[in-house]
């Protein structure tokens, strides 16, 4: 029956993500106000909820690790310990580790046990007030092997005969044992069933059993007695310390985290690894065991040595394993979305209205007379309203506040400022702005890169800022807001701004522009988005590891968006990302070429114009150029690209669309502009096959299929000069 709760796993993972954000944000804020008790309580509660939930689903490793964090947090919130930078840092690292553990639990992938064990030990050490008091008094004796902390522990033998009424009061002996396990390592448990009567005489609600348990713990007798507090009356209980050999090795729960991270890992205890048994019985020392384990070969290596498989086969198999685990991770990533019940209720109401409209229409249709035409038209208009509203609301379900994408930045900026030795303040605004879940998931990386770029290149070191009469602390501001049918996200810094001459020099060196090219400012800034361009003298650790701004631009454009730059020397730089609210719908201009209809994404259109006589020039090696008010733009005849029969071949008869993609401008020639409309994108790959120059298809109002232009693709086809095979 315990599987009943399995259906709540997705909901749990969603909740955990929220708690993790609370923990992380809380810990960061704590660095500013270390004795904020409310904040500590809040962080504690989130950790506590993660632990509680993880326990419910049998995610033992997560529950145990969170328990260690919770223990330390409890000491902090009770004032028994103070929040030092060391403690805050440890907790932040532990939060990262917990995230990894949770992701692994989700996807069934493996985790870095070493990191889990090391942090588990560190958390335990920080939480051990007694040991710390000792450290303060004298030199530390703590062992250097972190996963095997040796503390002074005692082994107790506990004999317990519970009262007969145990079950009748809803108590479970197993709970007592679990609580004992929290105190230390619960060794052998022997059950005495001698008092069990014959089957026919058994009263199922009476407890006939008793237990003998061995517990190795750093805690004292009182702590053990406390576990039995509620069952003490009528229990027979004896707790005795075992004298003699001291079992000094305690794995501190870490050995449990090496269990496979599958749900319900605690169904049936796994036998202890041989090594653990040998160490515990004193046959080998932990160091000897570690050494032996380090020499252990992986099964793949052994098979290769035995020539059972070739290294290539092994590599392929490993590759496959990797792909499968990442595919799995992806699957769970997009598995669920949490929707406000209000949104669903509204949608149900709308569907109700739609059903009413539909029944009115079919009623009208069954006995229609011409004089009812105005009624029919009115009903159809109503149907249209219903449909549009439902469409909007359904899209709205996928909308989430952008705050989820912003939440990673406080931590990032903290780490960046520490690494770069700069003082940086992060200001977030517009976190509640909603956009499509898919877009949110895809903008994380480009945004991260821009923030890194601002922290690393934009903002000056404190001394330089002071020299320039600027506040010592630099500011990075992230803002999101709606504008028209789009969302704008700005990444703004008050740093040194882009350096015109440096960019020009670099662009000339890279051969991106000619030495004598005269460029206006707004033509210079986009140069930093060119592949291979980077003005940084060296690629530092924090600046994105060699990933250039061109990747940012490409990412944003693949989402149907644009990036623009505003900069003022000495004052700062602002990057503005403009993105569609959803990837499922685009705002497009419908155009006609011959008998075909194409949709051009509105975001890439700068303007449409009727060309005049004498605008076209043919330049050897560059093809046809269009002189648009003094600027020469490459001319692309769309019918050439797709191999169609157009209505007009003379540019002055046709219409030009000036399009921009990746900072490049082109003039695209079409027969006619039909209008502007929102279209729902249908994937070409899923429904047909990928066609170059086409981003997708849509069903137009008259039921025919229209193709959505992939502007970049069209440009490339035109450059090659070969039409696409139909």
């Amino acid at each position: 029956m315990s599987n009943d709760f399995a259906q709540f796993q997705d909901a749990f993972f969603d909740e955990v993500a929220e708690h993790l954000a609370v923990v992380e944000e809380g810990l960061l804020a704590l660095e500013q106000q270390p004795d904020d008790r409310d904040l500590l309580n809040k962080i504690f509660r989130s950790a506590h909820s993660i632990k509680g939930g993880a326990g419910m689903f049998g995610f033992t490793a997560v529950a145990q690790f969170t328990h260690k964090m919770e223990t330390l947090l409890d000491l902090l919130r009770n004032g028994q310990k103070v929040v030092t930078p060391v403690v805050a840092d440890l907790l932040l690292k532990s939060t990262d580790c917990l995230k990894t553990l949770i992701d692994a639990t989700k996807s069934g992938a493996s985790v870095d046990d070493e990191a889990v064990q090391r942090l588990t030990a560190e958390l335990a050490a920080e939480s051990d007030l007694k040991a710390q008091a000792k450290v303060e008094r004298g030199p530390s004796e703590s062992s250097s092997t972190p996963s095997l902390t040796s503390t002074s522990t005692t082994t107790f033998v506990i004999d317990w005969t519970p009262p007969e009424w145990l079950f009748r009061r809803g108590l479970d002996p197993l709970q007592i044992m679990r609580e004992l396990r929290v105190l230390g390592t619960l060794g052998e448990i022997v059950m005495d069933q001698s008092r069990l009567p014959e089957l026919t005489a058994i009263d199922p609600e009476t407890c006939y059993l008793s237990w003998r348990m061995q517990l190795t713990t750093a805690k004292d007798l009182k702590a053990i007695e406390k576990v039995f507090e509620f069952v003490r009356e009528d229990s027979k209980l004896s707790i005795e310390e075992v004298r003699g050999k001291e079992s000094g090795v305690k794995s501190d729960g870490a050995s449990d985290s090496t269990q496979p991270l599958t749900p319900h890992a605690d169904e049936g205890e796994r036998p202890k690894p041989l090594g653990t048994i040998l160490v515990e019985s004193g046959v080998v020392s932990p160091a000897v065991l570690d050494h032996a384990l380090a020499q252990q070969k992986k099964v793949g290596e052994i098979l290769v040595e035995q020539k059972a498989v070739t290294p290539q086969q092994l590599e392929q198999a490993l590759q496959k394993q990797k792909q499968e685990s990442s595919a799995q991770a992806k699957k769970t990533d997009t598995a669920s979305i949490r929707v406000d019940t209000g949104k669903i209720d509204k949608l149900i109401n709308l569907v109700g209205e739609l059903v009413i409209t539909q029944s009115m229409l079919s009623d009208l249709g069954s006995r229609f007379e011409m004089r009812q035409l105005p009624v029919l038209l009115e009903r159809v208009a109503q149907l249209e309203r219903n449909t549009r509203e439902i469409q909007e609301r359904v899209m709205g379900i996928r909308m989430l506040p952008i705050g989820t994408a912003f939440s990673r930045f406080p931590r990032l900026v903290r780490d960046l400022s520490a690494k770069a030795g700069k003082k940086i303040q992060l200001v977030l605004a517009g976190e509640e702005t909603e956009l499509d879940k898919t877009v949110i998931e895809s903008i994380g990386d480009p945004l991260t890169h821009l923030v890194r770029n601002s922290a690393d290149h934009g903002l000056e070191p404190p001394e330089e800022r002071l020299d320039n009469n600027k506040p010592e602390v630099g500011t990075i501001r992230l803002n999101a807001f709606h504008e028209g049918g789009n969302i704008c996200i700005t990444v703004e810094d008050d740093g040194r701004g882009l350096h015109r001459d440096k960019i020009l020099a670099k662009a000339v060196k890279q051969g991106l522009i000619g030495e004598n090219d005269k460029l206006a400012d707004d033509q210079i800034w986009p140069l930093i988005f060119k592949p291979g361009f980077s003005t940084a003298e060296k690629i530092t650790d924090v600046s994105g590891r060699g990933v250039g701004m061109d990747v940012v631009k490409r990412n944003i454009e693949s989402l149907g968006g644009t990036v623009s730059i505003k900069t003022a020397t000495g004052k700062g730089t602002t990057f503005t990302l403009k993105l569609p609210l959803t990837l499922a719908i685009i705002e497009g201009m419908t155009v006609r070429v011959g008998k075909e209809t194409y949709i051009v994404p509105l975001l890439s259109i700068l303007e449409s114009i009727q060309p005049k006589e004498g605008w076209v020039k043919t330049v050897v090696g560059k093809g046809e150029l269009m002189n648009v008010r003094g600027t020469y733009l490459p001319l692309i005849r769309l019918y050439d690209v797709f191999g169609l029969e157009p209505e007009y071949r003379t540019p002055t008869d046709a219409i030009l669309l000036i399009l921009e993609t990746e900072g490049e401008r082109v003039a695209v020639m079409v027969d006619e502009i039909l209008g502007q409309q929102q279209v729902v994108i249908k994937s070409m790959e899923q429904n047909f096959r990928k066609v170059e120059g086409i981003a997708g298809a849509t069903i137009l109002g008259d039921g025919t299929v229209g193709f959505i232009l992939d502007v970049r693709g069209v440009l490339e086809i035109a450059r090659r000069g070969v039409p696409v095979a139909a």
């Binding site: 709760f5 709540f8 504690f44 909820s49 939930g53 809803g170 929290v182 576990v227």
Partner: protein, 123 residues
């Protein structure tokens, strides 16, 4: 007449799981996300047959909630179960002193939950 239950927990998933189990067992469930929310939802309103509450919650914690409920005449004799974790032993005692009828230790399964409830509810 169907039985009614008040389920209080700040963890959404936990709340859902308890509600789900109780609803399947024929209870009409009122959910609250913390003590304050719970008091607001039952003040002068419905009489409950059972209360299941978490202890660690923002705004008003479980212990305070139990005390508050016991002050209300409608909750004088209502069985109240605390949801607690195994490590919080002293909390159980505090809860008992505040007026809790019993407790359920997290993690639990639906069976344990229902059995414990059956035990503390008057027949």
């Amino acid at each position: 007449m169907g039985k009614t239950a008040l389920v209080v927990d700040d963890s959404r998933t936990m709340r859902q799981m308890v509600s789900f189990t109780l609803t399947n067992a024929g209870f009409t469930v009122i959910e609250a996300e913390d003590g304050k929310d719970a008091v607001k939802k039952v003040a002068g309103g419905p009489k409950m047959d059972i209360v299941v509450t978490d202890l660690n919650m923002p705004e008003m914690d479980g212990i305070t909630l139990i005390k508050e409920l016991r002050k209300m005449s409608a909750f004088q004799f209502t069985p109240i179960l605390m949801l607690t974790t195994e490590s919080a032993m002293d909390k159980k005692q505090e809860g008992k002193a505040a007026g809790a009828t019993g407790w359920i230790v997290k993690p639990f399964n639906p069976d344990v939950l229902l059995k414990t409830i059956a035990k503390v509810m008057p027949a």
